[in-house]
Symmetry: C2
Subunit: 211 residues, 2 copies
DNA sequence: GTCTATAGAATGATAGAC
DNA sequence: GTCTATCATTCTATAGAC
């Protein structure tokens, strides 16, 4: 029988989950090279040998986490509709990205470090999925410009600005918290930050925003 | 005699320079924990023991590089004048930050990783210099708002957006290059990116921009 | 599935000859 | 100042008893 369709045993499920959670933490903090399996195991509350029983190598564990991050990325990507109203489409996309930055800051940090290291594990994703998605959105934005719905800006650079601004709140949360009196942004503050970003970017490309 | 004022010998100068350059490279790529002194020494073209002769510990080497980054940071900070014209002041600041992102991408990456790791080495800088500078600029931006020169936006969030957008071009250069056909942005493209960022942000806060 | 013990390689750092 | 040789430690990963 193919074991692929067998149910995972209860301890396997529990252990894999706590290993993945601990690993996300450690990889985000120390990067792939800096992370150690013994630290991950300690944080997961299991002996190191058990970690290697579930994930044979550090790479395999890392790739499992990268896969989760892709899922989240796609989730946000889908909110950027081919919509007639650029204000609505972009506002929805920026809000989705801000939401992800708040809910999955570790994934964002791991992504950032991957890119900084030259994307050794995800280069194919950048060249296929990300590139394809970006080109299709560039097309939509160009149409908006041609239709006079938004100002004439370079579509790619607009996307970069959205990525930069939203991911900044995950990647640089520690700096922001320090400047916020050592406190994480409250839900209210985070909603303000989000509105602020939406307003500046939309107004910046010539879309009227109701305040 | 105090040796502090003795001239550095020629080989010391040369070796320190190539170690610092190689270390900047490796720390940017692998973070503090991931970087190894043997890799830094290899890239600097000297035996590992020599590296430890010039910089006793990995930490000492890292701190020397962090100091350089502070110098660069202050350089950009000074371009944000207390100016009557917010368009001029902000445009100059954004351009200075973009310039630094292009000229010192490694420093930007090291900074980013420091923050992501909870700023173990630079927390005091965040709490003193950075916080003080930010508060003083927040004050200036608030005055501009009170005088009706720019729209009512949260000053801190505006600064975060500027930091995010400009540093993104250093930290995520690899991703941007991949989407740019595997080529680094040309001087012309970089000037376009810069203008684009200035335009969107200024227009986003209600400042007229000449196109 | 779990865990002790450990192999084998790499790490930060140093001793000491030149 | 330079560099070989090396120490003590830590790393990834595994063997094998339970």
């Amino acid at each position: 029988m193919d074991t692929q369709f067998q149910k995972k045993s209860k301890p396997r499920k529990r252990n894999e989950a706590s290993i993945l959670s601990a690993a996300e933490d450690v990889f985000a903090e120390l990067g792939f090279a800096g992370a150690t399996t013994s630290l991950i195991a300690r944080r997961a509350g299991i002996p190191k040998a058990n970690l290697h029983y579930y994930f044979p190598t550090k790479q395999a564990l890392y790739r499992a986490i990268i896969n989760n991050i892709f899922t989240i990325w796609l989730q946000a990507a889908e909110t950027f509709d081919d919509c007639d109203d650029p204000g609505e489409a972009l506002s929805r996309y920026i809000r989705a990205k801000m939401d992800i930055a708040r809910k999955h800051p570790l994934g964002s940090k791991i992504w950032a470090q991957e890119i900084m290291q030259g994307a050794p594990q995800i280069q194919d994703f950048l060249e296929t999925t990300l590139k394809g998605w970006t080109l299709s959105r560039v097309k939509i934005i160009k149409r908006w410009i041609a239709e006079g719905k938004i100002a004439s800006v370079d579509p790619a650079y607009l996307l970069y600005m959205i990525w930069a601004t939203t991911q900044h709140y995950a990647d640089f949360a520690h700096q922001i918290n320090t400047l916020n009196g050592g406190q994480a942004l409250s839900d209210k503050q985070y909603e303000e930050v989000t509105s602020n970003a939406v307003t500046i970017i939309l107004r910046g490309i010539g879309v009227q925003v109701q305040e």
